[in-house]
Amino acid sequence: MLSSIPPFVLFFVGALAVAFTKGTARKALLLAIPIVGGLNLWFGVEPGIHQQFEFLGYTLVPYRADKLSLLFGYLFHIAAFIGFVYALHLGDDAPEGSVAGDVGEEDVSGNARAGLQHVSAMLYAGSALGAVFAGDLITLFVFWELLALTSAFLVWARGSERSLEAGFRYLVIHVVSGVLLLSGALMIARETGSIEFGALAGADGAVGSLAAWLILASFGIKAGFPLVHNWITEAYPESTPTGTVFLSAFTTKVAVYALARGYAGTEILIYIGTLMTFFPIFYAVLENDLRRVLGYSMINQIGFMVAGIGIGSAMAVNGAVAHAFADVIFKGLLFMSMGAVLTMTGRTKGTDLGGLYKTMPKTAFLCIVGAMAISAFPLFSAFVTKSMIMVAAIEEHHYIVWLFMLFASAGVLEHAGIKIPFFAFFAHDSGIRAKEPPKNMLVAMSIGALLCVLIGVFPSQLYALLPMEMEYHAYDMRHVVTQLQLLCFGALGFITLMKTGVYPDEKRAVHVDAEWLYRKAGPWVVGTVGRLVGRADAYVRSSVLELVDSIMSGAARAHGPIGPLARSWPTGSMVLWVAILLAGYLLFYL
């Protein structure tokens, strides 16, 4: 029976139950819901349309399962489970051994808003499931907006002024994305009479209609395309340690799923994706906030997926979705490790951290596992997923793209593989003596780490779930050796950069990015235009008032007690004027 109910329903009902429970009952619910939902999906759901109904002449399909949606369905259940294990301690006493209070971060975890975090995370995970199982564009739009709304609460849960502002900007950007999606969907409905969510772009690799462009823009905003990517780097670091773990798992991966379904083989995505792999790594070198570094890293990783979807071959699309699967786990692990650092120290900036391996060795180890996974070391997950996209780029003769990706792969090692663990746990000793995070956080990180290794060691299990038929063997001698060469000599480059003092110091600063447009330029333009309009308005008002004033005073002069028009006129002068007017009349008309 459960198999015919859309997966999101369990999470939405579960969120209601979570809202009205506390303590052990709530914890049991938080863990049980993703487990029950996941097992049901794995054992009970076959590909096909499981729910549909007519509405205003259109067919709404709230529950359609195929290999692509099922893969993301499994992934989101795993991500939700890991996330809730990680967030299980919320509502308990402050973690023992935390020194976050030393820097004024008394409630860095948003403990006072534990219920809000649990409920909104449950609704958020449900919205992500609703989106990937939506068989039509209108249902997709509904969950698209729910994703935005529910996740914004995870940003606000931090309770700081910065998180409040970042959350509002985040929400506005995502609502705009939803509006674009709805506009495109309505145009498609009018043009074709159908709202089915299938391939949206033309078969020739071009985007095609205006509707397809609008929807691509909508998906692009959620995927963090260049110029609209800063919601990731802005909102994620402002959320709570646990909130960011959920945020990193769902929104962008729903966008990757939507792109894979709607725009596979769309050429422009190859170049957008390549740009996404490339530019964030420079920012990641400079950035001080390590969770913001991970935000840039996320854009970089999504870049590989977007490029793979753009290449469009079976290997490339499989590589993109497989990499999305691996990314949720290893990026989640990295965000969890930085969340643990934030929870226990109240800090996430490279300038403040260092030497934590002495008192947080388990967290350091688990972070390194995540770092090795994202860097694509053999036996770790990205090695068996990202390489599919790289091979597909070569097979489809995108050589320049491949070179950029190879460079970006070295960049991943630099910022996520080395910088994150090095500056947080090693580098100089900051003197911070925080203890390991609560056990549930360590368990969640261990599950993530284990999955990173399992996917890397047994890739065929993941490959069997991929949507397209293909044959690929990640492990051959050359691939292993060349990848190790790339990574180890890259690391050697890092050592030489450090030893020669060329590597830039971490600085307490921000680096201007596209967000400047709406955080500085936009307000400046609005402010300047407002001032100019204000001045023009004041000028017009004062001029008109002066004019009215002068007319009034002129009238007063003319009609006042001594004004000429107020005088009594003698009859003689009236006769004289009548005679003059008569003479004028005669002159013109006779």
Binding site: I281, G355, A410, E414, V481, L492, L497, P504, K507, A509
Partner: protein, 100 residues
């Protein structure tokens, strides 16, 4: 401060990075791995590529180690002048001015 009040004050933890000989040994092992990987190219010459492609064949010899090493330097050498151009004070978006 705690030293003044307690005879058994908690000792500062000493990690492996505080021991220069251990750090040196770690680096030595890492350099040895690099040398082995460098030499592995010779072994690779006799193997078949599971996913052969002309570009990789042409740029086969020592491409990956050289590319990896140079990429890091390129990345940092580009990022540093970028910082000069883009850096702003921490409160830049909270009402801070443009000057660093």
């Amino acid at each position: 401060m705690s030293h003044e009040h307690h005879d058994h004050a908690p000792q500062e933890p000493i990690g492996w990075m505080d021991k220069p000989d251990v750090v040196k040994r770690v680096f030595t092992v890492f350099y040895a791995i690099c040398v082995v990987l460098f030499l592995a190219e010779l072994v690779l010459m006799g193997t078949e590529n599971a996913h052969p492609h002309p570009l990789e064949e042409r740029m086969r010899y020592l491409v990956y180690p050289v590319f990896g090493f140079i990429s890091f330097w390129f990345l940092v050498l580009v990022a540093k002048p970028m910082r000069g151009l883009l850096i702003r004070p921490e409160d830049y978006y909270d009402g801070g001015d443009d000057a660093e």
